[in-house]
């Protein structure tokens, strides 16, 4: 019965377009009936990644249709700040940008039973709500490492890369932090945790590291064998793939940076009530009160480990967004990674 309702009402129709918005979008999908009341979500998460959440919401609300737009974290921020296009919910993995949006008054507060249930670290100023915890992982192909020891820490990784530079030349990938908000967040948080990051950057820079915009592309390249090692990849993207068994997701034992994917309701939201309802649904679905965690059950964080370096939402995140600070960081990053003499 249920599946019949789904097949009739929830036929997703998907198309790509760049023309309707004042900024560049990466993907767009609509769910639910054509004549339903519309909830517009702008997000950095891939459709495939977020679809289960949308479908579970629509199952309880058959009169709602959801317009889901995927954009980069920078474009998402510009869209919310610009106000030319209105969205009811903005979901982003770039915690720093989300914090800045809330801090600068672009988000409206929301307090409900669901938000009160959340632990303090998972919300900020009643405006920003975390609904997943996602570790930055090192991803390798099991096939490529068959019979060989898999590095468990950054230290192991550096040693491995130094031992066998020819093998890894041009086959290590990571985010291009100049263009990826999430990559920038991961890298800056890595430098806060340990100086190891800079040593690793020097090493992979010397190996002619490949730079990427997105986790999905890196994972694809690991699968194809173009990459042997992908550093700072969203582990959850791997865990959600059908071929996840082909990958080894390493959460570094020295420290694992954990990002919180957050949602906010822009002040310009057209149907804020619907947005609140959707956010409550997301929080109820994601938060496991037993383990007090928002982590993907397929990708459990090492419990109670001091190695888990959860990024705190707070004014500290504004530091690396400062243009002077950003310029200084990127200079250092470029000199380590690009090694252009």
């Amino acid at each position: 019965m249920r599946s019949i309702v789904f097949s009739i009402v929830l036929i997703p129709f998907l198309w790509l377009t760049n023309t309707a918005f004042a900024f560049e979008i990466e993907a767009r999908a609509s769910f639910g009936p054509d004549d339903g009341s519309v909830l517009r979500i702008i997000s950095t998460a891939d459709i495939r990644f977020f679809e289960p959440m949308i479908l579970s919401y629509l199952a309880d609300h058959p009169d709602v249709s959801i317009d889901y737009i995927v954009a980069s974290s920078t474009n998402l921020m510009k869209a919310v700040q610009g106000g030319e296009d209105t969205f009811d919910i903005a979901i982003s993995s770039a915690m720093d940008l989300q914090t800045k949006l809330a801090n600068d008054g672009f988000a409206q507060p929301h307090v409900s039973e669901a938000t009160l249930m959340l632990p303090d670290w998972a919300k900020w100023n009643d405006m920003l709500f975390a609904f997943t915890e996602e570790p930055a992982a090192i991803v390798v192909s099991k096939a490529a490492f068959a019979g060989q020891p898999i590095p468990r820490t950054r230290h192991d990784l550096i040693a491995l890369l130094r031992r066998d530079p020819e093998r890894f030349q041009g086959r290590v990938g990571t985010y291009d932090v100049r263009h990826s908000g999430l990559g920038y967040l991961f890298a800056t948080q890595d430098t806060r945790a340990s100086e190891t990051f800079w040593r690793l950057a020097e090493v992979i820079g010397a190996l002619g590291v490949q730079l990427y915009c997105c986790s999905s592309d890196m994972i694809d390249d690991v699968k194809s064998g173009d990459l042997l090692i992908a550093y700072n990849v969203l582990g959850s993207y791997v865990a959600n793939r059908d071929d996840r068994e082909e990958f080894e997701i390493i959460m570094p034992a020295d420290f694992t940076t954990v990002m919180l994917r957050t949602a906010l309701i822009p002040t310009s939201a057209v149907s804020p009530e619907r947005a609140r309802d959707f956010i409550d649904h997301m929080l109820m679905t994601s938060y496991d009160e037993d383990t007090a965690s928002l982590a993907d059950p397929n990708l459990p964080l090492p419990e109670g480990s001091t190695a888990v370096n959860r990024i705190e939402i707070g004014p500290g995140l504004l530091v690396f967004l400062d243009q002077l600070k950003r310029r200084a960081f990127l200079n250092e990053w470029e000199s380590a990674i690009l090694q252009e003499q």
């Binding site: 809330a102 801090n103 600068d104 008054g105 900020w124 100023n125 009643d126 806060r192 705190e312 939402i313 707070g314 004014p315 500290g316 995140l317 504004l318 530091v319 690396f320 400062d322 243009q323 002077l324 600070k325 310029r327 200084a328």
Partner: protein, 444 residues
């Protein structure tokens, strides 16, 4: 009491305001010092590198500003007044005060923010440049802290107030009760009692009681003096009056013409009245004196009544008044023989004086319900009903007695004597309209 409570309410409010003011200041100081530290850490990070200003400030610069209520943070970095980085529309710092932070509370982004600013001069290869940093924070956590403190302080203030109300109630009752007792004992006193108060009173009230006692003493003294004066005057008048009377009698006897005889007799009559008044005044002075030193001996009322009747018999004969003494067996009471004699004499004297000629005056003694009842009745015109209450007052006289010479002291003396003996005096009229005075003594 009201003053105390009102005062303590004001005190409680003042206490609340002061503590809240202090708390606000302390909380604000706390926020200011964190903002100031944050500003300093930014300024410290400012360097000139290759001719350009670099501010590679630490993560803690802002993360230290994290509060329980997730206060929002704004900042701006200026180079020689131009915004280098941060929020361009942030209100400019008030003064270029040097490296010491200055603070101001301003409106920004639709909310109240606390803004800390400081500056620093950098010296590079190309010259000097001034770097200013402003960091601002909203005040949600501060307000919450303050509200919490306010609630606690308000609670304390209310408790303080309640305590004061209780204390003042207690203190007032401690003070008021002896005062009330004193007032009651003043009220209960007889009109003659001017002796000092001996009751135990709180320390604070001793001066009051002392001055009250002094006043009583002075009053007593001056009353005694005036009584003495009256007695002395009356006494001194009697001798000349007696001489004048003798002379008038001689004149009346030797006079040959009727006019002189008549005038002389009128003189004698007037002199008699004057002597009588002087006598009564003396009587009263004597009564007053004896009341203060009341003798308490066994006396027989029957003998006294008969004696009193005998003493006035010459007067009744003169006016053709029939005097009846209906006295039974002896009735014993405790008291002052002289005073009671005086009272009876006054009563009979009054009756004879106001009764018309050929009337009948009766003195009767019975014993009823454990009390000795002595009544003096006459067949005259009686007391005016409307004035019965007033008649015992000193110098008061019945309105129908204006044609009779009198001092108005008679009934007063009787009244005082009765009160001193624990008895009562009732003034009524008989059924036939005559006057009736009823004395009731406790038996011994």
């Amino acid at each position: 009491m009201i003053t105390l409570i009102g005062g303590s309410a004001i005190l409680a409010v003042i206490l609340f305001l002061i503590v809240r003011g202090y708390a606000a200041q302390i909380a604000q100081n706390g926020q200011d010092s964190i903002l100031s530290a944050s500003v300093s850490s930014l300024l410290d990070a400012a360097v000139i590198q290759d001719g350009a200003v670099e501010v590679d400030f630490p993560y803690s610069s802002f993360s230290m500003l994290d509060t329980e209520l997730d206060d929002r943070v704004f900042y701006a970095i200026y180079q020689d007044g131009e915004v280098l980085s941060g929020y361009e529309d942030l209100p400019a710092p008030i003064a270029k005060a040097g490296e010491q932070s200055t603070f101001q509370t301003v409106q920004y982004a639709n909310t109240k923010i606390r803004l800390a600013s400081a500056n620093r001069t950098l010296i590079g290869a190309t010259g000097r440049t001034q770097i200013s940093v402003s960091i601002a924070q909203t005040q949600d956590a501060l307000s919450r802290t303050l509200n919490g403190i306010s609630q606690t302080v308000a609670l304390f203030g209310a408790g303080f107030f309640g305590l004061i109300v209780l204390l003042s109630y207690w203190a007032t009752s401690i003070t008021i009760n002896p005062l009330m007792r004193l007032a009651t004992s003043v009220q209960k006193r007889g009109p003659q009692d001017l002796s000092p108060f001996q009751k135990q009173v709180p320390y604070e009230m001793v001066p009051l009681v002392t001055s009250l006692n002094t006043l009583m003493g002075r009053l007593d003294h001056s009353l005694t003096q005036s009584e003495d004066f009256i007695a002395e005057a009356a006494h001194r008048l009697r001798t000349p009056l007696a001489i004048v009377r003798t002379k008038a009698e001689i004149v009346a006897r030797v006079a040959t013409d009727d006019t002189t005889t008549k005038a002389a007799q009128e003189m004698i009559h007037a002199i008699d009245e004057s002597s009588r008044i002087a006598g009564q005044l003396l009587d009263h002075a004597m009564v007053t004196f004896r009341l203060d030193n009341l003798a308490r001996e066994e006396i027989d009322l029957a003998t006294l009544a008969t004696g009193a009747a005998d003493r006035v018999r010459p007067l009744t004969d003169l006016k053709d008044i029939e005097l009846l003494a209906t006295v039974g067996p002896p009735v014993s009471i405790k008291g002052d023989v002289v005073l009671i004699q005086s009272a009876l004499h006054n009563l009979l004297d009054n009756a004879i004086k106001y009764a018309p000629a050929e009337a009948r005056v009766e003195i009767a003694l019975t014993e009823t319900d454990g009390r000795a009842i002595l009544t003096v009745t006459d067949t005259g015109s009686g007391f005016p009903m409307a004035e019965l209450e007033l008649l015992a007052d000193r110098y008061a006289r019945g309105s129908n007695a204006t044609h009779v010479v009198g001092s108005g002291l008679g009934l007063t003396i009787v009244q005082e004597v009765m009160a001193a003996h624990g008895g009562t005096m009732d003034i009524t009229n008989t059924k036939t309209g005559g006057a009736c005075v009823r004395l009731s003594f406790p038996l011994s």
